[in-house]
Subunit: 367 residues, 2 copies
């Protein structure tokens, strides 16, 4: 059995250089509970880009032999202190075929699995069977490539809503792969969802999925439309992947406008309705700006899938995983803009395309 | 028994005029459980100013007979919808002498009480005995005027810290009357406190109270000093009355810097240490700006005394009230810049002075 792999690695050096390269690695034989998987497809999620490129200045991207380098601004270096000199593998999730297995896992050889756990931008991945979902016979690699991050995040939003006592959700930007999954879940489960999109085309896409409340931030009536949709759904919870700018602020103020309409009496401290905003991404890395016309009953915080899953009941998480496998070709189907090899992932022109993070665009690495 | 009172009232009309005036009111006789109190002293807290003046443009203040008027910007009117046309009394807290009482409260006639409940900027206040603290014989009105808002807020910070699992607090701006109380509480109880002040004079004031960690935002070494103090105390909780600007953001970033120093391994999502900022005032009504270099384990929210007290155990709240009365002339002593009458509170020059909200300045109404 050939256990020679090639792994995409990212390294920051003390002098402020980011370096991406492909590293030859010989993996050990799988032990008990382990699988050796030939990676067939792994998506590039925004969360992967954070580790791959960190805060590097991408205008300085250049080739250095087979590697790719870029400069990191001095101001960003303190936050990277703990990764200096470490060659880190990349790729949160992926799918592939089991080519070898520990003595207790021999029955899985030849099966296709979906995997979570990092280091997926590689030819081979040695992984615990518990970090895999075994796909049904006949399922292709693209059906399993992205069954963890986006599907569990979308379901995690709904479970967070339930756990924290909200009845509907506002989501921005809603036309992403994740946003489309959330729209399908909310339609199927009868949950109120306000989809904030950034163009008429995105609005049409969401409406095509059956979304009842789609508001377009590029239109003059955005604030009014948003307020109406918040009133119609009763949403008091928002998930925002943009992060920078005023999106969360605008949503909280719309929620407060609705709450004040319903308020019996004036309260100088604003409504008592708790308004929660979660920032779960950083498509805009600029500052978050909050215009606090929404009283004192509000909270804005970071939301991270892995930490949120730890706060949920194990039975809830298991139910989420089962649903993802069952609905992998419908609710949780991802669509890809392009498929690239590991080598292509290090070409400056290709990098420029996949780091753009355009809503609805998604790249797949097919090692 | 004379039950003629004079109450300071604030009214917003639909055309955008704010009007403050003194209203003659004849109060009913106190019923069971009630006290009629001659108000002797009531502080002007920032929270009172919010109700008195709302978002009025104070450059337009002018007299209209015995009343005072100001214009409210059009953009601010929607948030005031539910108070239009209502003549609202003002003054969260105060102290006075019981001049009449319900049949079951006759023993309190002649006693001095501290009161909470609004409408304290008045000659007389009819109030439930449960909303009063009876002061010991000989206690003057100024000892009782401000025993609720600031003392319970300062103690509320400490109880919030305990309830949410933090071990130390950062407070800004720390030289306020409230900040001085908090410094005394934390010193007495051995709780880590980082005091952010805005001048060398304020720093000296806090150090004079025995505060161990005082950092001055007007100095070049502010960020470095703050980070050191956060490291020394282990603070992961911040209370910020400024609200607008970057104060909370700077504090959360200092907390993250400390957390990353202690982190074993690099995590692209930042440290797992939960950093909590609470905004409990709006000395700066401009937007809150968050530079999110502090990862994803963070939350910023509004904090309001009355809503926080409702979340605490009743026994905890009772213990807080007892401590306030016992330590009214030490831990919880307030200092006043000036004493003014109800009539003076409506003079434009006096208004200009007391709305400045300068740290450490505080006005007392002595009807």
């Amino acid at each position: 059995m050939n256990r020679d792999s090639l792994e995409l690695r990212t390294t920051v050096s003390a002098d402020g250089t980011l370096r991406l390269h492909l590293e030859r690695v010989i993996l050990p034989e799988p032990g008990p509970g382990q699988l050796l998987v030939r990676v067939e497809a792994a998506p590039i999620n925004p969360s992967d880009l954070g580790l791959m490129f960190g805060p590097a200045d991408l205008s300085t991207l250049s080739r250095d032999g087979d590697a790719l380098t870029a400069r990191i601004p001095d101001a960003a270096m303190p936050a990277l202190r703990s990764r200096i000199g470490q060659s880190l593998p990349v790729g949160n999730e992926g799918a592939g075929t089991v080519v070898a297995a520990g003595p207790d896992q021999q029955h899985l050889i030849g099966r296709r699995v979906a995997m979570l756990g990092g280091a997926m931008y590689a030819r081979l991945r040695l992984i615990g069977a518990g970090d895999c979902l075994v796909l049904p016979e006949g399922a292709g690699p693209e059906e399993g490539a992205a069954l963890f991050v986006n599907p569990l995040t979308a379901l995690g939003f709904v479970e967070t809503m339930r756990a924290e006592g909200h009845k509907a959700i506002v989501h921005a930007p809603a036309a992403s792969n994740l946003g489309q999954m959330l729209a399908r879940i909310c339609k199927a489960d009868g949950i109120g969802l306000v989809n904030i999109v950034r163009s008429p085309e995105q609005a049409a896409l969401l409406r095509g999925l059956g979304a009842a409340h789609v508001v377009d931030s590029s239109t003059a009536s955005f604030h009014e439309d948003l307020t109406q949709a918040v009133a119609a759904t009763g949403a008091t919870l928002c998930f925002d992947a943009i992060g920078g700018g005023e999106t969360t602020s605008i949503v909280l103020n719309a929620m407060e406008t609705v709450a004040l309409r319903d308020a019996a009496a004036y309260d100088r401290y604003g409504s008592a309705v708790k308004k929660q905003g979660y920032i779960y991404g950083a498509l805009d890395t600029g500052p978050t700006v909050l215009h606090r016309s929404f009283g004192f009953s509000w909270s804005v915080g970071g939301w991270l899938l892995f930490r949120a899953l730890q706060r949920l009941e194990p039975a809830t998480v298991e139910r989420m995983r089962q649903r993802v496998v069952e609905e992998r070709t419908t609710t949780f189907a991802s669509h890809y803009t392009a498929r690239i090899t590991l080598e292509q992932a290090l070409e400056p022109e290709t990098v420029a395309a996949y780091v753009r993070k355009a809503t609805g665009e998604k790249y797949l690495i097919t090692p």
